[in-house]
Symmetry: C2
Subunit: 247 residues, 2 copies
């Protein structure tokens, strides 16, 4: 596939970009982060839909073959609105996350914990989709503080430990956990420390798998060229990209 658009509320979607450039599916990625209005996680459904449709207008200026919504909050609340009006396929991260889990967790009594922003958790999109597939033991926990921690580049240490304990002290014997926000994979080691035996689902890895399975995408390009756009401070987006993607 030649050209794909990736939309995120800010810089977090770069964790999805990281997974996708490993796969060499695309010749070109147009990344657009709404950094002037980030974060979306605490915002209302109507606001998120409005912002997502504005982003769609932006992508119409490019001749993209597909739009990937990296942001879980947008995927939770706005994906059907986007699909309805977009002149290209739109793929969010929730269905891929659930498919990745389904591919690995066969026992429908397994305990599954969904973590995400307030928007993602309140939408119940992961939960409903998993329930429709027969999973019976689903827990949810909004963990919004992980977003500013990652934005502050605090990936471990006492604050992260205290925050993990604050959110997760009542959760035991979890078989699979969905890191349902693009920021959370940056805390993967700490998640795994808190849940040593738990399978962790990562939106970026899940969507790479999903694109391979559903769109028959192959490793065809040697390199992926990435253009960065942001509603404010594109220089910072590029700086974070350099750090996170090891470019």
């Amino acid at each position: 596939m030649k050209k794909v658009g990736i939309f995120d509320s800010g810089v977090g979607g770069l964790s999805v970009v990281k997974s996708l450039i490993k796969e060499n599916f695309f010749k070109e990625i147009i990344y657009y982060g709404d950094t002037a209005r980030v974060p979306y996680g605490p915002k209302d459904q109507n606001t998120i839909i409005r912002y997502a449709l504005e982003a769609l207008e932006f992508f119409k200026n490019f001749d993209i073959d597909m739009l990937i919504v990296a942001c879980n909050s947008v995927s939770a609340y706005a994906i059907s609105d986007l699909k309805e009006v977009a002149p290209f396929p739109v793929v969010g991260v929730i269905e891929p996350g659930v498919k990745a889990l389904q591919n690995r967790i066969k026992d429908k009594n397994s305990s599954i914990l969904i973590t995400g922003t307030k928007a993602t958790i309140e939408s119940k999109k992961y939960k409903n989709l998993l329930q429709s597939l027969g999973y019976r033991n689903i827990l949810q926990k909004a963990t919004p503080l992980f977003v500013p921690l990652v934005e502050e580049k605090i990936y471990h240490g006492e604050i992260v430990d205290a925050t993990m304990k604050y959110y997760f002290k009542e959760f035991n014997n979890i078989d699979a956990l969905i890191m349902g926000c693009t920021h959370f994979p940056l805390l993967k080691k700490e998640y795994q420390k808190q849940f040593p035996k738990t399978l962790l689902i990562h939106s970026g890895e899940a969507i790479a798998e999903y694109l391979k399975d559903n769109f028959n995408l192959q490793k065809v390009y040697k390199n992926t060229n990435i253009s960065y756009y942001a509603t404010e401070n594109p220089a910072n987006l590029k700086k974070v990209a350099k750090e996170w993607l090891n470019l």
Copy 2:
């Protein structure tokens, strides 16, 4: 004074409202929070100015006698732009905060620590104003994580302790500390625990003092009537107001 507008990036400015309603200066407060784009603290100067000028357009629909900018980040970056075009007086929180400090700290060698969002600290507005008054020993520390902690209603406990330690471990013997963000007074007890002998400057109390001294405002009204407006979820703004203001 009959009618005043109070502008904030979100719900944080309610800590300023709390100080002002105690004083009974105003018959009516129009509170406007840009909750659909909060927080402003990590944003750029140009974005903050643009959002502030949009808020000004909102207030032009009301016959207000004065606009109070409760948000430190807006006060840091956009106050002169607002003053230039507003058809009513505009008062920010930075000058009042500095005046409140000046009224209490006479020794120009006193050590002063300014805390605030990234925007407020990078603007150096507090620092420059204090230096122009002759203070020589000024330290600055951006403490952005306090904002989401307060938004999450986490006012004490292990995460707050770890965050205080993370930001403040190298600061000792501080004579005065500016809590330069409307969210921070909600953590006042923890600030004082970290700095037991330090004078804390609170934007709300500072601006109440400033209005008394500079606009000769008096306690004339029995009650202050408050109307709440927000760019999203005004119901949540009213809920937080009820909690914070004990209404």
